[in-house]
C-alpha cells in the first residue's frame, strides 16, 4: 500500500488521527463505553454527554440547533429516512416528488421504491455543467408536489447546485426540500439558519470521520415530520431507534469540529494542488473537464481522455487509486449515468476518471500522478484504433460500427 497513491478522497477519506484517538477512548472498560440510553448510572450519563457534545459539533459546522440533528448509520440511511420518511408522512398532501438524474443511488433507489408504492417521481436533467437550476425545477412543479430532493455537491463532478435559491422557492410553495450534503461538509460553508432547507444528509467518512455513521438534519421551525424507518425503543426522538454507537458518533463529531476549525486551511491546500494537477494534465491533447471549473469544488477533478477507455486507464495507473464514474457502480460495465445525463457522448463517458484530493495529499504526489497520467494516456492511445482514426482525420461519427 505504501507506494499506492490515494486519489479517491471523494469516495472515502482516511480517519484523521485526532479523530481516531477520540474514538479509541470510547471502547474499553476503562473508557467511555456505556450505553448513552442508560439513565441509571454514570456509564450511561458519560456516554450521553459525549454523544451530545458530538451533536453540538455537527450542528455547529452547519449552524443548526442540536435538536435538529438525528444520528444515522451514514448518508445513505439519512437519504432513505428523509425521502421515504417525508413522502410517507405527507402523502395526504400529494404524491409527486422531484429529484434529478445525477443524484447518488442513495437518493435514486429510495425514489424508485416510492414509485412502487404509488408515488410519481420526476427526474430532472442537469445542465451540461452538472447543475440543477431553479428554472428547471419550476417547470415540473405541480399541485401534488410534496418533496424536492437534490444534492448540494455532486460526488462525481464536484459541481455545486444553488440550494439557497431553490430553498426559497420550495419554502414559498410549502414543499419539503431535502439536500444530500455528503460531499459538502468541510468543503463549503453551510449555514442552515439562513437556508430554507428542511432536511439535510451528512456522512462521517467523507470528512475524515469513520464509516458507519451519519446524520440527518430535520428542521424544527417550520417543523418537518417524518415517518421513521427503524423502530425499537424510540431513540433520537422517535426518528431512529437503536443504541447509539458512541465511538462512531464521537468520531464524526470530532471530524466535523476539525472541519470547522480547518476548512480554510484545507481548502487553500487542496485548491493549490488541484490547480497544479489540472495545469499539468491539460497538456494532454483531447482531454475534457467534466463539470465547470467556475462552479465546482477543487477537491474533485473529473476528466475524460478521448479515444481511451476508463477501466484500462485505471488499470494502467496501477500505483494510483482513482475512480471511474461512481465507485458504487464501477463493478458494472455501464458508463457513468451522471456523465450520460450531462449529454456527454458514450465514448467520453466511458473514458472518464475522477481524481479527488484531500487533507493528506501532497504536492509531490500530485506532480507524480500527473506525470504518470500523461505517460499512460500516451501509451493507451498508441494501442487505440480510435486514436489512429482521429489522427488520420476520420470522422468517428460517420463510421459504421459493428456493435456486438
Amino acid at each position: 500500500m505504501k507506494d499506492l497513491k490515494y486519489f479517491d478522497y471523494a469516495s472515502t477519506t482516511p480517519v484523521d488521527p485526532r479523530v481516531a484517538d477520540k474514538m479509541y477512548e470510547c471502547l474499553k472498560l476503562d473508557g467511555n463505553f456505556g450505553n448513552p440510553a442508560s439513565r441509571s448510572h454514570e456509564f450511561g450519563w458519560k456516554a450521553e454527554e459525549a454523544v451530545e457534545r458530538a451533536r453540538m459539533q455537527v450542528a455547529s459546522l452547519v449552524n443548526a440547533d442540536t435538536r435538529e440533528i438525528v444520528w444515522t448509520s451514514g448518508a445513505t440511511e439519512s437519504d432513505n429516512l428523509a425521502i421515504k420518511g417525508a413522502a410517507r408522512f405527507y402523502k395526504d398532501r400529494g404524491n409527486h416528488i422531484i429529484t434529478s438524474k445525477i443524484e447518488h443511488k442513495a437518493v435514486l433507489d429510495p425514489c424508485r421504491q416510492l414509485e412502487r408504492e404509488g408515488f410519481e417521481v420526476t427526474y430532472l436533467d442537469p445542465n451540461e455543467d452538472g447543475v440543477i437550476t431553479l428554472d428547471m425545477l419550476k417547470k415540473h412543479i405541480k399541485d401534488e408536489t410534496i418533496l424536492v430532493s437534490l444534492m448540494h455537491i455532486n460526488n462525481e463532478l464536484g459541481s455545486v447546485t444553488d440550494i439557497e435559491e431553490i430553498g426559497n422557492f420550495t419554502r414559498e410553495n410549502n414543499i419539503i426540500f431535502h439536500v444530500d450534503a455528503a460531499q459538502s461538509t468541510g468543503k463549503v460553508n453551510i449555514d442552515l439558519s439562513n437556508l430554507n432547507v428542511d432536511l439535510m444528509s451528512f456522512s462521517g467518512h467523507k470528512t475524515y470521520g469513520p464509516k458507519g455513521v451519519g446524520a440527518l438534519y430535520v428542521r424544527r421551525k417550520p417543523r418537518v415530520r417524518l415517518e421513521a424507518l427503524i423502530h425499537g425503543g424510540g431513540h433520537e426522538r422517535g426518528f431512529r431507534s437503536g443504541t447509539l454507537a458512541t465511538h462512531q458518533i464521537v468520531g464524526m463529531g470530532e471530524a466535523f469540529k476539525i472541519a470547522q476549525d480547518e476548512m480554510e486551511k484545507d481548502n487553500k491546500h487542496i485548491k493549490k494542488l488541484s490547480d497544479i494537477f489540472y495545469k499539468e494534465i491539460s497538456e494532454i491533447e483531447e482531454i475534457f473537464l467534466n463539470g465547470n471549473e467556475k462552479n465546482k469544488v477543487p477537491n474533485i477533478t473529473n476528466v475524460s481522455f478521448a479515444y481511451i477507455e476508463g477501466e484500462s486507464l485505471i488499470m494502467a495507473l496501477q500505483d494510483v487509486a482513482v475512480s471511474s464514474g461512481s465507485a458504487c457502480t464501477s463493478a458494472s460495465l455501464e458508463p457513468s449515468y451522471v456523465l450520460r445525463a450531462l449529454g456527454r457522448p458514450d465514448e467520453l463517458a466511458h473514458s472518464s476518471i475522477r481524481f479527488s484530493f484531500g487533507r493528506f495529499t501532497t504536492e509531490e504526489e500530485v506532480r507524480s500522478v500527473a506525470e504518470t497520467t500523461k505517460k499512460v494516456v500516451a501509451q493507451l492511445r498508441e494501442l487505440s484504433p480510435l486514436w489512429d482514426m482521429f489522427k488520420d482525420g476520420v470522422d468517428l461519427e460517420k463510421v459504421e460500427w459493428i456493435p456486438h
Partner: protein, 132 residues
C-alpha cells in the same frame, strides 16, 4: 474488476512494449492483408485485427489495436499469439471460449473474447474477398 494474473500481465506487457507485442497496423489496401474491426466506441470497445497471409494460406504476420478495457487488450494479445503461423482454416477454428479459458476471464468480461473471435472471422473474410 478482479482480473487473473494472466490478464494483468498481458495488459502490462502490451502497454510497456507495444512494438514487441504486435501493436500497429498493416496496409489495409494490400492484397495479402485482411482487416477486421469490430465493436463500437459507445459500447466501450473496438478491436482492429489485421492479418498478412502468404500464398500457402498461412498467417505470417498480424497487427492489432484495441480500444477497451484491460481484458479486451489482453484478449487481443492472446488472439495474436494463437493466430501466428496458423493456416486460415486453423484460424477459423479459434473459439472465444478458448481465449476466455486461457485468460480466466470473469463472466462479465466474456464479451472481450467474443470480440476477438469476431475480429478473426472478419479479417479472414476481408482477405478472402480480395482473392475472388
Amino acid at each position: 474488476m478482479a482480473y487473473s494474473r494472466k490478464v494483468i500481465k498481458k495488459f502490462q506487457d502490451t502497454l510497456n512494449n507495444p512494438a514487441a507485442h504486435n501493436v500497429g497496423r498493416l496496409d489495409p489496401n494490400a492484397k495479402n492483408v485482411g482487416t477486421g474491426m469490430v465493436g463500437a466506441p459507445a459500447c466501450g470497445d473496438v478491436m482492429r485485427l489485421q492479418i498478412e497471409v502468404d500464398d500457402d494460406n498461412i498467417i505470417t504476420d498480424c497487427k492489432f489495436k484495441t480500444y477497451g478495457c484491460g481484458s479486451a487488450i489482453a484478449s487481443s494479445l492472446q488472439m495474436i499469439e494463437m493466430l501466428k503461423g496458423k493456416t486460415l482454416e486453423e484460424a477459423k477454428g479459434i473459439k472465444d471460449r478458448e481465449i476466455a479459458d486461457l485468460l480466466e476471464l470473469p463472466p462479465i468480461k466474456i464479451h472481450c473474447s467474443v470480440l476477438a473471435e469476431d475480429s478473426i472471422k472478419r479479417a479472414i473474410a476481408d482477405y478472402e474477398s480480395k482473392k475472388t
